[in-house]
Symmetry: C2
Subunit: 107 residues, 2 copies
DNA sequence: TATATAAATAACAATATGGTTATATAACTA
DNA sequence: TAGTTATATAACCATATTGTTATTTATATA
């Protein structure tokens, strides 16, 4: 479902740590060990936030020898902002429901 | 904090039921009893979703005799989409951290 | 090969979320 | 005033979220 997918992406964004990570990645790619000291949480916590962002396709990971660098998927982020500002128009659905008498009208 | 507030608003949006409610309100104001039969959840559940949206200032409520009508705060919704596409630039903060030697560099 | 570093995963705990049913409140109506 | 309808709140439960510490996996190096 459309709404389910958008809600999932928004959930991935709806956390201050993850928003800050994304903001940092706007400047440049970062590896996990760079990110950890910036936040007051443990390395596994950062790792899981990154994993969450990766699942939502908001970031991309690349291993470079012993480090894993994360980069922002700008396109996905932009698509999400766009989707928020262009939520589906349900006026047709409302009209249908009215025609079928399935809609209570209050007046 | 900037990120905290944005995260809170995004949390309010990050639910398929609430996204659909917002989409419906794009067409016109709706009262609670109109919304309830559209979803497969109870009236109190809808009521709490609306309450969540109200707290986030994404909707506005107006009582008209026995009904309570909810309307969309288009401005707040647009601001949120905009904020997503214009997350703060933290490059200065990164530079500062580097200067203070607080940033691990991996290469 | 043994050790060190980077990152992910496992197991667990506390809190948040989202649903339910029951009940309270507010406003109409006979 | 008593009853009805619309909505909100309370109490509760199951699951999700987000942190922790301990451990595992992957890579580099002495």
């Amino acid at each position: 479902m459309e709404f389910e997918k958008l809600a999932d992406t928004l959930k991935a964004l709806a956390d201050p740590t993850r928003l800050k990570i994304i903001s940092l990645l706007r400047t440049r790619d970062c590896c996990v060990c760079e990110l950890v000291p910036i936040f007051n949480i443990s390395q596994p916590a950062i790792s899981r936030h990154l994993s969450r962002l990766k699942t939502a396709e908001l970031v991309h990971e690349t291993r470079k020898s012993q480090w894993v660098f994360y980069s922002l998927n700008v396109k996905k982020l932009e698509e999400t902002g766009f989707a928020l500002n262009h939520l589906p128009d349900l006026s047709e659905k409302l009209k249908e429901l009215e025609k079928q008498g399935l809609l209570v009208r209050c007046e």
